[in-house]
Structure formats: structure tokens, C-alpha cells
Symmetry: C2
Subunit: 361 residues, 2 copies
């Protein structure tokens, strides 16, 4: 899903220009005005959700905190959102943690971990497993405050021009997959490519890449990937669920009165739930359309691939985590929690889903 | 989990007494004061969550809407909460939809459906599948407004003094299981018993019942059921996830200004997410304690039982739904949605959970 590593330290100039153009955030008679910059477009599900979040904060606070939203490209480029907050142009940013991998070796672990947690487990980890505090060690280190503010749910494994059945089929494949999943695929000789979203379909069309992961049926349908690729793989081992992040200039956050912080926190939690619920609700209709109208072949990754990639994940992920003390810490924190979820989800969600079709309701 | 059918029309008197004791809800200079009555005790996870919800509404509204919470037994008995709202004693109630089965033949379908939806799917149905509107047809008919306000997640199948392996083992069993699951078990010759929560452990101890379902490890551990029963079954086919309901006097709800309604709606959504996340986070620790310290045997229902009960569910549930037009409508609504979820969750959550232990993280 992500398009990380495209901008890193280049946004300062843009930020500075914007800051002179726009009024500086003012605190006038206990009214606070924030600027939010987003990595997502205005029209999509995520842009809409951010707009509703901002509107609600204004309403609930009786106008004491207003958030003016700039969607992707409206003030800065999508992947410059964090730079805009760090430079003081904006007080809030919105995106996915692995978009900011250039800022921190550890931050991608906040977004998603291959073979890791489901969305429901991520929320358990975040709110009652110490996850927000653990992620905040990374964000605080950058001068930011983190809040979970959405989840894509389980993603699809990706689109391939040709079938991939075995480890041998991976060698030499030119595949777009950013984040931790891409790092694992590299070890199989995959030529992992990073491309911004709008370049993906053209690159597939010209054959510059052989395939790509994106998000899930609802988002992928709109992107038109089925026009070039016919093989749509599951399960999304690389992103079993992906946390979206709201992040705030730590000084602006700390300066908010406690009641306004609470409004933002609860509003972010509601947004988190709404986004996950919406993806879950609309994905199947999109999948049916892909299969029935566009004749996409939905294929399960072979056991050979799942087993080989899983074994490699257990080698590569600890190495990637070990690049920084924060990475080591959050990797341990998540994998400790994951072990307890393997047990409990084995008794609950997994066991139930395996039997429920015994009733033809 | 539920203890339905214990009170129905008996609470009016209590309600009337309470109404004269307490000040009637007053609207003074745009300040609204509500009374909320809960079916849950103050000390538990659900009581705490309700307290935090009410506190937040007061904070976010700047005191324009304050909700005074009475937990179970503080103003009326647990299962009298809906009567208290209907009689005007309270403006808000909190519980689980099947607690109010005496008010509506259809309302239990809002809570949980055997072999039905998981929590994540229920939320997709509620917020983006028309579920809230569908449930509101039932609640509106009673003079109430419905909001989802919590979810237990997948429950455990229940506690049994002796092992149950086959359909033959069910015959003559005295088992406490309220709701739709109990109706299905009756058809196998189970003597289905309804008991309020505090009578369950005594009844198990004296042998008046042979077993009971309750909630899940975290709640069940505290209840001490392991002292009498050693066999703890999964999966919870009868309640794959259970929605908790906030409900409001429709007139009081409609009289709220839109911004206050929005605060209550978002606060309820955040509470919904927090409760599900907390159950998910703490269940496994409790399960480990049950197994390691109390030597509970965790057993999977046999395929024979799962298949037979599933087949029967497909006969019994439509019959129960057909008792009322609302029941018929909501049953169709949920089962239509469920079919799309069987497909999508088959590609996503289920497929992923079946392979993720291939990585030893």
C-alpha cells in the first residue's frame, strides 16, 4: 500500500513557503486552529474519513479546536505530510506509519508486520496491550504524538501478470511491494520496486513491473489494476492489517487542554473503527465485480510459497528490527503480544470461522 | 451471557417510585441532564466503560449534556434497565439486546446469531451495511433509539461438568444457555435453563444444572466457574460475537441538538471499539491462568456436534425469525450480509489466520 522513501528531507522548503503564505496557527481567546496535512486524496474513503474527523472535532469542541484539512497535494505532496508537521507548517498529519520509513528504521513496524496481527488484534495491542505507548516512543523521538486513526484490515496478496506457484517463480520477478514484505521478497531474488501510486498502472502496462500489491478489492478495483493483471493472490501475508496514523506536533498536542485532547483521542478511535468497518463492508462487493465482470482469477498462494516466505520472515524481520533500539523494542513488544493472540484467536475467531459454514443460513 | 426473560413488565412500579425520588430530567438554560441505567455492575469492564463514556460526553459537550450513570442494582435491577427508559425514569439504558427479548421477538437477532457474524463483520454491518437502521426499526417500534456500544467478541462455547462428544450426550443435559443458541439446543433434548448470573455458580455446585455458557476466559475466570466445571468448550458457535446496546428514549434523543447527538454517537462508537479491544487483549491471559493454575481442559466441540447443531440452526433460526415481521426482516438482512462476509473473510481473516503460524516470530 505504501509509497515510502520518496521524500525525506526535501519538504522543508515547501513547508517554509507554505508557512509564510498561510496564517500561523493562532491561539486567540482559547480558540486553537490547527492545520492537518494528509497523505491521502480528498475523494477516497480515507480523505472523507479525515474530513469527518476534523468536522467532528470542531463541533464537539464548540469551535475551541478547529482543524483545517489539506488533502494530498493541496498543500504539500502526499509523502511530505510528516515533514510539514516537523517544520511547523501543520500541527497534524495523516497517513500510514511506513510512509515515514525515511524518518525512522522502526516506524514501519507500527503499520503492519508480515505474518503478524489482524486488525482486531492490533486494536487490542494498541489500546490495551501498551501499543500506543510503545509506538509513541518512536513518534515522541521525532517530536510527535501518535494516535491510531484507521485500519485497512487484511490486504490482498497482490496482482501478478503471470501465475506464481513456487519459490523458483519469484526469482527475477519485478514486483512493487514496499515495507517489510518487500524486504522479505528481496531475499528470494525478487527485484522489489518502489513506485508512487500513480505510476503503478503505467509501469504494469509497459511491463516495467510484473506485478504489484496494493490494498484490497475495494481500493484495487478503483485503481483499475485488473486491466493489466489477471491473477489476484491471497492471503495478504505481508499486511495482515495496516494501521493508519494520526500524528501531531508534540508541543501543539501538549499545549491542548485535557478535554480537547480527549475529544481528539475519542474522535480518532471512532475514525479508526469506521474506516476498518467500511473496508470490511465494501470489499466483497468489489471482489464480486472483479471476478464476475472483469474475470479476475482469485488464487491462493501455494503452501510452498507461504511456508518458504514465512520461514524467511522469521529470519529477516528480527534483522530489520535490530537496526535501531526502538525497532528491537517494538518488534519484541509486538511479537510477545502476537504469541498470546495465536492462542486466543485459535480458540475464537479462527476456530469459529472454520466451522460456521456448517450452518447454511 | 444473557439472563433474559426474567423481568418484563414488572419494572413499571419500581420506575415510578424512582421517578418521584429523583429529580425529573431538567432542561435548564440549554443544559440537558440524563439518567442512564445499566444491566452491568459498576466494577466490571462494562461498568467502567459506561462510566468513561458518560464522563466523556459531559466533557466534550462542555457540560451541556451530563449523564448520571446508575449501574446494575443502583436504581433498578439489571434486567429492568429498558423498563426504566420506557417509563421515563431514565433517558438512556445499557445492556445487551437479548436481555430485552421480552419486549420483542426480533431483538435477540441484533445481539448475536449462532453461526453468524464475527465482531469485525458486525461492525461492518452496523456502520456501513445498514445494520443500525435495521436494528432501529425494532428499537423505534418500542419508542427507543439504538446505538452499538460494545462487543464481547467471540465467546467460548461453555462449561460442562462432563465431556460432551456426540449428539447423544446432549439428550437430557441441563444446560444454561439463553438466547437463540438455547433455542437450538432444545431441539436436541437439552433441558435449557435460564438463570440470572448470580445463581449460576450455586446451581452448578448443587448439580441443578450440568453446565453453562457464560462469556469468555476473562469474564469466566472472575466468576469462578472452573471450581465446578472442568471442561471448557470452543468455538462459541452460539455467540460468534455479541453486540452491546446503548438505547435512548426516542423523544429525549430527538430533542437533542445535532451536535450533542453527534457527540453521543462518536462516543458510543469509541466505547464499542474499546470494549472489544479490551476483551481481546485480556482473554488470553485469563485462558492461560485457567489452564495452568486451575487445570481446566480446553476442548473443541466435535465435528459431529458442530455439524449437527449447524444443520439444526439453519432450520430453527428462520422459524424464530418468522415470529414477527421485524424478525423476518432483520434475519434476512443479517444473513444476506453474512453470505458476502463468508466470501470476503474466506480470502482475508480466515485465510490469513490459517497460515500465519508458518512464521515463527
Amino acid at each position: 500500500m505504501d509509497r515510502r522513501n520518496f521524500i525525506k528531507k526535501t519538504a522543508m522548503a515547501t513547508g517554509a513557503v507554505a508557512a509564510t503564505t498561510l496564517a500561523a496557527p493562532a491561539v486567540v481567546s482559547a480558540k486553537t486552529q490547527w492545520i492537518a496535512v494528509s497523505a491521502f486524496g480528498k475523494a477516497g474513503l480515507l480523505g472523507q474519513a479525515l474530513g469527518e474527523f476534523a468536522k467532528f472535532v470542531g463541533t464537539a469542541s464548540g469551535g475551541r479546536l478547529t482543524i483545517k484539512v489539506y488533502h494530498a497535494g493541496e498543500l504539500v505532496k502526499p509523502l511530505e505530510a510528516m515533514d510539514a508537521v516537523l517544520s511547523g507548517t501543520a500541527q497534524m498529519g495523516y497517513g500510514a506509519p511506513y510512509y515515514w520509513a525515511g524518518k525512522s528504521d522502526a516506524i514501519s513496524f507500527v503499520a503492519a508486520m508480515p505474518y503478524g496481527l489482524t486488525a482486531q488484534e492490533q486494536n487490542a495491542w494498541l489500546y490495551y496491550g501498551g501499543g500506543i505507548a510503545e509506538a509513541d516512543k518512536i513518534y515522541n523521538g521525532l517530536g510527535l504524538k501518535f494516535l491510531p486513526m484507521g485500519n485497512t484490515g487484511n490486504q490482498m496478496g497482490g496482482w501478478y501478470r503471470k501465475e506464481v506457484k513456487s519459490v523458483a517463480d519469484l526469482k527475477g520477478l519485478k514486483f512493487r511491494m514496499p515495507g517489510l514484505g518487500g524486504e522479505i521478497l528481496k531475499t528470494f531474488g525478487v527485484n522489489v520496486v518502489l513506485l508512487p501510486g500513480k505510476e503503478v498502472l503505467p509501469a504494469l502496462t509497459t511491463g516495467a513491473i510484473d506485478g504489484t500489491e496494493w490494498i484490497g478489492p475495494a481500493a484495487d478495483l478503483g485503481k483499475g489494476l485488473f486491466r493489466v493483471c489477471n491473477n489476484y493472490y491471497y492471503p495478504g501475508w505481508h499486511e495482515p492489517a495496516t494501521i493508519l496514523d494520526g500524528f501531531f506536533d508534540k508541543k501543539a498536542w501538549d499545549a491542548l487542554p485535557p478535554d480537547l485532547r480527549e475529544i481528539v483521542e475519542r474522535a480518532a478511535a471512532a475514525t479508526n473503527l469506521f474506516i476498518l468497518s467500511k473496508f470490511q463492508a465494501i470489499n466483497n462487493t468489489a471482489m464480486q465485480k472483479l471476478v464476475r465482470e472483469h474475470h479476475v482469477k482469485v488464487r491462493r498462494y501455494s503452501d510452498e510459497l507461504i511456508n518458504a516466505i514465512g520461514a524467511k520472515a522469521a529470519e529477516v524481520l528480527p534483522e530489520l528490527a535490530a537496526k535501531s533500539p526502538e525497532g528491537k523494542a517494538i518488534y519484541k513488544h509486538i511479537t510477545d503480544f502476537r504469541r498470546t493472540m495465536l492462542d486466543w484467536s485459535g480458540y475464537s475467531e479462527r476456530a469459529f470461522m472454520e466451522v460456521r459454514d456448517k450452518a447454511s443460513l
